[in-house]
């Protein structure tokens, strides 16, 4: 009998963490699996923890790493803060860094590796600038210092357009054309389920508030190693954007991922893992060399 036809539970545990963020209590959804070095994973704008479903189920990864991911407020199964309905949501660099540090502290993670994609790939640069000693290593997926708006963001949140389908339509081409069909549409489903104005509010950080072009050269990779992985089909953060980032940050390491787009861990997990594993091995080797 084919074991995959049998019902089974994944090794993933999901829990709700109550903690103070941005001056008020929040209910934050956290998933984790595995044991070992903490690997904290940050989802993209307008999506949620489900993007890391494959990593949370990869036996080889879980044997060495405690893979953890959480939904930002308003995303996935995390509640918005009280009063959310009274103002427009705009994610800022300050708030994003504070949220990550607060969750890291609440979970008592010691020197976690933080890996973020898209807005998560940008914010790891802020972490590298502000508090590198807190982290064992930083991995930026689809990471660039800045993205110029290339469409009118108003289309993402207006009453005469179906928000979820439009958000999915905006990002669908960011997925590599060769991505497995099931993973492609799972990735888009997450976007279709986003709350009103959430993707647009995240992009305030990505395209307006979070411009790091004048700061990234101050990143000191001796204080915290920085690895970059970028898919060749991404036209939001292009390979050229990441190449420029690598050029500006001495000691950073960029890997370009063939056939992959903007959502590597979600759109084509197996292919992405083939690129991620060597990076994790390099991080482990450098830890041994530094006697961490």
């Amino acid at each position: 009998m084919n074991p995959t036809t049998q019902p089974y539970f994944e090794p993933v545990t999901g829990r709700y963490l109550h903690l103070e963020l941005l001056g008020q209590m929040h209910r934050i959804y956290v998933e984790e699996a595995g044991e070992g070095t903490p690997l904290l994973c940050l989802h993209t704008a307008g999506s949620d923890t489900r993007q890391y479903r494959a990593l949370l189920n990869d036996p080889a990864l879980l044997a060495k790493y405690r893979v953890i991911t959480f939904d930002l407020p308003r995303h996935g199964k995390s509640s918005p803060g009280a009063g959310w309905h009274k103002f427009e949501y705009k994610l800022t660099s300050r708030d994003y860094v504070d949220i990550i540090c607060a969750v890291t502290d609440a979970l008592a993670l010691e020197k976690p590796i933080v890996m973020g994609c898209s807005i998560g790939g940008r914010i790891v640069l802020n972490l590298a600038l502000e508090c590198p000693e807190r982290f064992g290593a930083l991995i930026g997926l689809q990471s660039g210092a800045h993205v110029h708006p290339y469409y009118d963001l108003q289309w993402l949140h207006r009453p005469d357009v179906q928000g979820g389908e439009t958000c999915a339509g905006i990002v669908s081409g960011l997925i590599g054309p060769g991505a497995p069909e099931t993973d492609r549409w799972e990735t888009l489903w997450h976007y279709m389920q986003g709350g009103p104005g959430v993707f647009k509010g995240d992009l305030y950080f990505y395209k307006i508030d979070g411009d790091l072009r004048q700061k990234v050269s101050q990143i000191d990779t001796r204080r915290c190693p920085l690895y970059l992985l970028t898919g060749e089909y991404d036209y939001s953060c292009t390979p050229e954007d990441s190449l420029e980032l690598e050029r500006l940050i001495p000691g950073s390491h960029l890997t370009l991922m063939e056939g992959i787009g903007h959502f590597p861990m979600s759109e084509d997990p197996e292919r992405f893992l083939s690129y991620l594993r060597p990076v994790l091995e390099q991080i482990e080797s450098s830890k041994v060399a530094r006697n961490d």
Binding site: Y150, Y151, V161, A168, G169, S172, G173, P177, G178, E232
Partner: protein, 126 residues
């Protein structure tokens, strides 16, 4: 844009019942330009009613999509290269100009992406 591709667009779209269903609230006339070559496509309830080939005198359209022939050629292959694989990618790199009232296009973005994917050769399983 190769003429044979666009001439068979109506048949490809209209024979896809799910695609037509997804466009069921869409009624629009839009212009597609490949260099100086122009087409006006009329969609009614998700079905392509007509594809008129220019040149036109005083054409009416709600929005227009204008690109050079080499851009459409790169877009229309089975396995397009990065930057030519998606309508929004073309817009991002300014090789496709979207003009006029964008509302019908943006409100039906996934539909239009799949309509234009019909310009690509059919994948044939042997």
């Amino acid at each position: 844009m190769a003429d044979p591709n666009i001439q068979q667009l109506a048949e490809r779209v209209n024979s896809d019942a799910w695609l037509v269903h997804r466009g069921r609230y869409l009624d629009v006339r839009f212009l597609v330009a490949s260099g100086t070559d122009q087409y006006v496509i009329e969609i009614h309830k998700g079905r392509i009613d007509s594809i008129e080939h220019g040149p036109f005198v005083m054409p009416r359209w709600t929005f227009a999509m204008k690109a050079e022939p080499d851009v459409w050629e790169k877009f229309c292959v089975s396995h397009p290269a990065p930057r030519f694989h998606d309508l929004m990618a073309l817009i991002r790199f300014k090789t496709l100009l979207l003009e006029g009232d964008q509302h019908p296009f943006m409100a039906n973005l996934l539909y239009f992406k799949d309509v234009f994917a019909c310009l690509r050769p059919l994948e044939i399983s042997l």
